[in-house]
Every structure is written in structure tokens, then in C-alpha cells.
Amino acid sequence: MSEEYRSMWTDLGLDLDAHDALLGILGNAYNDIYLSQKNRPEGMNYFDFVMSEVHGLRIKELMNEKETGRKIIGSFCVFVPEEIVLAANATLVGLCSGADFAMEEVEKLLPRNTCALIKSAFGFKLGRVCPYLESADMIVGENTCDGKKKSYESLNNLVENLYVMDLPQVKSEHGKALLRAEYNRFRSAAEILTGVTITPESLKQAINTVNAKRTALHRISSLRKADPAPISGLDALLANQVFFYDNPARFTDSVNKICDELEIRIEEKKGAFPEKTPRILLSGCPQAVPNWKLPFIVETSGAVIVGEESCVGERGTRNLTDDSGNTVDEMMEAIVDRYFQVDCAIFTPNPERLEHIQELAASCRADGVIHYGLQFCQPYLMESIPVENVLENNNIPCLRIETDYSIEDMGQLKTRIEAFIEQLK
């Protein structure tokens, strides 16, 4: 198999030696972090397979799609509407940004005090190790935080197909008008890229496909309310991460199968961890593959993660898009409505997020919240203090963590997280 993949990777322009090294590290990390877990649902076999083939079979599938003329659109953000992409007969993939790579090269282009997520995206490009990025016909950059929007100016020199989407920063009528205009512009760009005109039928079908993916993840979220939690936070995070890569219909089926199994586990009182294990809600910055550092520490320190208030989690998937419209315009408006509710920290003010965290902490029956901030991620770090204050005023313990992708602070983090878990017992 791997010979076939190697020629595919070569055709994509990957640096094979660097890519081998990356896959080696990824494989080891997956073994140590995922396969070492006990009491996993059997349905996770599917995700183990997906991860083992994340740069192999899945890329092969995308290449096969491309051969039939279908286009691939890569994205770094949950504000890029998959509905529009699918309706234009293209495939949306999340682009790699969860590990440090080629940092010396990256720091020639970006200041050192740039967040790990942005640096990672550049590292994967400069190191030529991300087959998703290399296979994409269009890369969508979006004006969220200052770091991202300014970095796209530099990324534009590295790739030929960057499309920058502007985004509002205020939840006003003007803000919504901007989002509407930008989604219409994106719709045209997608149509031009694919040569396919979006119709009411194709858009409705796309909305249904994406809603089904989200609904499957909502099902997992609600099953995680059980004590003992039927699935580990690491495994649930993985499902949320694979959401960005996998074939949508197959993903939905696989998640629903896991949910069927979790329902039985709940009936049998079988958990990933024993009953009464302290329960933690993670809140804050997104955790892209293979950034499993924090959940790994938490779940090897005696607690279970029962929810992610994150772009790779609830913030990304929480609301469905209304599919009742009959015209493209009506459904486009429903898409604008749905995405305008995303409570990303780039919005100011952003009181919805504070409320959502409290709601989530209650609904997933969390004993405490860990706020995860990536170093130099100003929007989320700025919000972390108000988050801590509002939670503590409601007697919900909160621990604020600020870290990056390196492992040099693992010992310190472990002590702080263990002490936080002791505090919850």
C-alpha cells in the first residue's frame, strides 16, 4: 500500500523524508495516547483506522474525487460554511495545524510570539508535509484574529490559491450584513472554482448532510452526560477532529454507530472511567490533530473530560442550519443566521460565550472547567479572566491554562491539573 501512497505524496510535492518523520511521530503519539486507553468503545476502531490512514487512504479518496473533476477546498476555521462548499460539488477539509513543524523556517516569516496554531499551519506548508493543503484547489483564510489575518498576507506568498474571507467582529446588523455579503461572495467563488451553479436542491441536500454530521456529534455530547461517562474525552475529541477530514456521510454513520454502542454501555453502567470520576469541561482554543496534550494530561491524572467548548467541539457544531427554505436566497440567509451565532472570541463584546460555558458546564454535569488558552492567542486569553470570574462567582472551580504545542511544560501542567482535580474531589 505504502508504495502507491508514496507516489501520490510525491505527485503532491510532499517532502517524503520529512513526511515519514511526521507520520512516525504521529503514529507513536497515537499509540501512546489513544491506543493505551482502557475501556474504549469498539466503534472507536473506525477512528483508529481513519487516523492510521489520515494521510493515506483519505488522501487517495480525495485524489479520486479530483480525477472526476471535483474540487477540494481547505479551511482553517469553522466560519467557512461547508454547506456552500458541498452544494457547489466540492469537498471541504480542515487543514493541519496541531503540531510544531519546521519552526526555524516559520520564524523567518512570522514573529516568535505568534500562536502555535498559526505557526503550525505555516510549518506544514513550509515543511511540505500536509497532503490536504497540497491537494486543495482553494485555501480559505478568514479574517478572525489579528494573528491569522496578518499571517494570511504572508501565506499568500507561499500558495497560489488563497481566498481570504472577511468576517465581522461585532454582532450587529452591520456585522450580519458583512457576513451575508461575504458568504455570497464565497458562494460565487466556489461556483467559479467548480463550474457548478448552486441550486435550491443541491443547497438543501448540502444543509441536510452537514446537519446530519452535527446531529451525530450532538448525540455523542448528550450521551457524555451519563456517569460513568461512556466515552473518554480524548475519544470524543477525536470524533470532533475527524469531523473536519472525513467523508461526511461515512462520518455520520460511524458516529451514530458509536452512539448506539454508547447507549448500551450507559444501560450497562459501563464507562471509560469509573463512576464518580471528576468531570471536566474544556473551554477555549481549538485543538487540532494531533494536539492531544491537555486532554491526555487530564485523563491520565484522574479526571474525565465531558465536553469541549471549542471550535473543535461545541462551538463549531452546536447549531443546525434551518433547512426549511425553498430558494437559494432563503437557505443562504439560514446559513448566515446559523454561523452568526458562533460565539468566537473575535467578537466584541461576546457575552453569549460566557453564558454558553455556564450552560454547558451545567448540562454536561462538569465539576470544574479548564480554560485552555494557546500562548499569544489574545482573544481567548483576554476572555479567560472573565470566564474564570463568572464561573467562580457561580461556585464552579476554574483553572486557566496557557500553553503551546511543546512538551517542555508537561511536568508543571501535570502538577497544576492534578491539584485542580484534587480540588474537585
Partner: protein
């Protein structure tokens, strides 16, 4: 024979072992340098002493757990418990050890309510003071006493050990009084510690633990800076091990 519980605190600089009886009185305590092989050192310390259960804390706790199959507790909970043994009404604990520092707020019944801990580097810890003492030609034991009588504090702006050391070197080169430099260094550590304390607790007495609590200049400056009373156990370095020993006895 009565039941005994042991606590071992494996820190970056020293290891402490404390044994308590059923009523929580210390019946034995000892201390040793961590050295390069902490588990060999720990083994030496526990050989020949008898106890019914041992609990480990400190940065070497997980290694100890693997080597000796013992339960563990974080330094934070251990110091909180140990501080309460000396001062039963304590609501705030400051622990400054060899490579980290933490401020802990307790609930009325002694549980950890909130804590702050330095992240990553050794700024503002015992290690910082040790290197600065050496740069100024003082012993670590005498550092605080040398700084106390200084007429004024020379401002040291950097908390990074490497940068602060070069700041100190340039002050020495300018012919500044080294006691005043020393006092300035103490003040800079206290500013940081006071900030951590203020984030977890607004008022009341502070129990000061860890090796740095042995330094009289630190105790004085902390009281002055926060206007709060600073309480210090006789042997502040033993507090973590004592807490672990008491918690070993409280395992159900």
C-alpha cells in the same frame, strides 16, 4: 505497636521524609539533597524506618509511585494540609521551593479553594535566589540576613534568572552596594509572590512554607508588601512531607 504514616517530599533540591503517629504528631523527620539519582536517595532515606503507609509528593512523586507503588498527592494539597497542622485556621499558604512557587487559598475546612503556580521557568523561586546569592558572593543560608540591614533596595527589573544575573553583574561593576542589590532581588521575588497571593486571596494571615520561608528578609518584605501577617512553621521545608504523611493517614 501503634500505626505510623510517612510522607516523602521529593523536590528539585531536597528530599524530606516525615513520619507521624496516629494522632498526627511528628515522630521522625529527616532531610537530604536530591542529588542526581532521587530514587536511590529516597530508598536510602526510607530504609530502616518503619511505617504502615507512605505517600509521596513533590516533583519526583510519580517516579516514586512507579518505584515503590505508593499513593501520591500534589505539592499543592500537601502544603495546604501541612500548613493546617501548624496553623489550624490558615486560609492562605505561600510555598516557595527550589524550582516553583505557589499561592494557595483554602476553604474554612482546609480544602484547596484556588491556587496559582508559576509556569515553566524558575523565576521567583529558590533557584533564582540561590544563583543571585552566588553572583553576589553570599551563601544561600546567609543571603537574607545580609540583605536585611541594607539602607535601600536597588531596583532589579528582570525576573528571568539569566537577565537578572547580568543586571546584577552590571550593578556590581558600577560599584553599587551588594547588600542593597541583594535587598532589591528579594523585593523583586516578593513582588511576584505578592501578585500570586492577591489573585487567590484578598486578606488574612499568610502561612509561608518551603525552603525560601527560612529567609528572614523574604518574610519581612512579604509582610511589608501586603500588610498581612506572615506565619512560618519552625521547619518550613518539612511542611510538604508532613502534609503527605497526614494525608497518608487519612486515606480511607
Amino acid at each position: 505497636m501503634s500505626t505510623h504514616f510517612a510522607g516523602i517530599d521529593i523536590g528539585s533540591r531536597t528530599i524530606e521524609l516525615v513520619i507521624v503517629n496516629e494522632t498526627g504528631d511528628i515522630v521522625f523527620s529527616t532531610q537530604s539533597d536530591t542529588g542526581f539519582d532521587p530514587m536511590a536517595e529516597a530508598r536510602k532515606m526510607i530504609n530502616g524506618v518503619s511505617y504502615d503507609r507512605i505517600m509521596a509528593t513533590g516533583y519526583g512523586r510519580n517516579l516514586f509511585e512507579m518505584s515503590f507503588d505508593a499513593p501520591t498527592v500534589t505539592e499543592i494539597k500537601a502544603h495546604a494540609r501541612g500548613a493546617r497542622a501548624f496553623f489550624p485556621a490558615a486560609l492562605t499558604v505561600l510555598d516557595i521551593g527550589g524550582q516553583d512557587s505557589k499561592a494557595i487559598a483554602l476553604t474554612a475546612n482546609g480544602k484547596v479553594k484556588k491556587f496559582e503556580m508559576n509556569d515553566r521557568c524558575a523565576a521567583g523561586t529558590g533557584k533564582f535566589l540561590e544563583i543571585m546569592a552566588k553572583t553576589l558572593g553570599f551563601s544561600i543560608e546567609g543571603f537574607g540576613l545580609e540583605a536585611l540591614p541594607a539602607q535601600r533596595e536597588l531596583n532589579i527589573s528582570s525576573m528571568c534568572t539569566v537577565f537578572a544575573e547580568s543586571e546584577v553583574t552590571s550593578l556590581i561593576a558600577k560599584g553599587q552596594n551588594r547588600r542593597e542589590i541583594a535587598r532589591g532581588l528579594h523585593a523583586s521575588v516578593i513582588r511576584r509572590a505578592a501578585g500570586m497571593i492577591s489573585r487567590v486571596s484578598a486578606e488574612g494571615d499568610i502561612v509561608f512554607t518551603g525552603g525560601v520561608a527560612n529567609n528572614p528578609c523574604m518574610r519581612l518584605l512579604l509582610e511589608e508588601k501586603l500588610g498581612r501577617k506572615v506565619l512560618c512553621p519552625n521547619d518550613p521545608q518539612m511542611v510538604g512531607a508532613l502534609g503527605a504523611a497526614l494525608l497518608a493517614g487519612e486515606i480511607k
